[in-house]
């Protein structure tokens, strides 16, 4: 009897620890999911006079990608972003705590997948978006509501399993 109880408790502990191994402590639930995008207005990165505002993220489902030229893992996902842009997915960028020259040089090297880019040198808009680790990618509905947040470089698996189906269903619901 005592042996059975000990084994039961031991098994429970093993299950608990095993489940803990599978969790990713870096992935925090964002309180922004389900809420409208933060209100912001930033200078456009490439167009010196232009402005980039939160209203730009309305009308169709889109991706909002936070990146910087100093961010190494941003480079890892850049190819995927280019692919998505070529396939017609609207991607908007937030250039986070960067310098203009380096950011532009980065895009010249790797190509520019973005329809518009907000230049957030001070990182204040990034704080409003709850950014804590570049790259971060948000899925925005046509109504301007944040539907999903991915922290870290995008992978083909996340794209095909989560992000692309979500974009499709959001656009489908709107039309």
């Amino acid at each position: 009897m005592r042996l059975v109880v000990s084994f039961f408790v031991f098994g429970l502990l093993v299950l608990l620890l095993w489940a803990g191994l599978g969790l990713n402590p870096r992935e925090l639930p964002s309180p922004l999911v389900g809420r409208p995008t933060p209100v912001f207005e930033l200078p456009e990165l490439l167009d010196g006079e232009g402005r980039f505002q939160h209203q730009a993220l309305r009308g169709q489902a889109s991706l909002f990608n936070v990146w910087a030229s100093w961010c190494v893992s941003c480079r890892a996902e850049h190819g995927l972003l280019m692919e998505l842009a070529r396939a017609g997915v609207p991607i908007y960028g937030l250039n986070y705590k960067d310098t203009r020259t380096e950011a532009i040089a980065y895009l010249r090297r790797g190509g520019n997948p973005y329809r518009a880019i907000g230049f957030d040198a001070a990182g204040q808009v990034g704080i409003d978006w709850g950014v804590y680790g570049t790259p971060e990618t948000f899925v925005i509905g046509p109504d301007g509501v944040i539907r999903y947040k991915h922290v870290g470089p995008l992978s083909r698996r996340v794209l095909t399993e989560t992000i692309l189906p979500l974009l499709q269903s959001l656009d489908g619901a709107a039309s």
Partner: protein
């Protein structure tokens, strides 16, 4: 020899370098300063996760400290600043988690374990007492007598 001396100099300089440098912040009154000092200790740096804002040298932690400083100077109270942080980064930024249904286990778990421990203890003591109260059987008494008789 000179190399050794250089190493010693570097070692001697290290504790100095570890102290965070920065211009002293000015506050309108001591209450504001206390609020700022408390908040930067109770809010977590989301980049480094196991450090508070005051411990971290990450760029984001620096920006958030600046934000908290400015909000404090502008006369915002603790709840307002905490709300600012939670609405962006979630409850995770709070080192002092709020009491709500999904944190009940966190708050009351230790007491639960204490209760389980006490119950186990009571059960063990009860069993031993019962064994003690039962006394010795006739067989055991005979064996005891034999054992004591054999003593020289």
């Amino acid at each position: 020899m000179r190399r050794l001396f250089a190493c010693l100099l570097i070692l001697a300089a290290m504790p100095v370098a570890a102290i965070p440098v920065g211009t002293p912040l000015e506050f309108a009154n001591p209450a504001q300063e206390e609020q700022y000092q408390t908040l930067i200790r109770e809010l977590r740096c989301t980049v480094c996760q196991n450090q508070s804002l005051v411990d971290s040298n990450a760029g984001l932690a620096r920006d958030l400290r600046r934000n908290i400083y400015q909000m404090t100077r502008a006369g915002q109270d603790r709840e307002q600043i905490t709300e600012f942080m939670v609405s962006r980064y979630g409850d995770f930024v709070l080192y002092r988690p709020p009491l709500q249904p999904n944190t009940y286990l966190l708050w009351f778990g230790p007491f639960l374990f204490l209760l389980v421990g006490v119950l186990v203890l009571v059960a063990v003591i009860g069993r031993q007492r019962r064994a003690h109260d039962r006394g010795l059987s006739a067989e055991e008494r005979a064996r005891l007598a034999e054992l004591t008789r054999q003593r020289p």
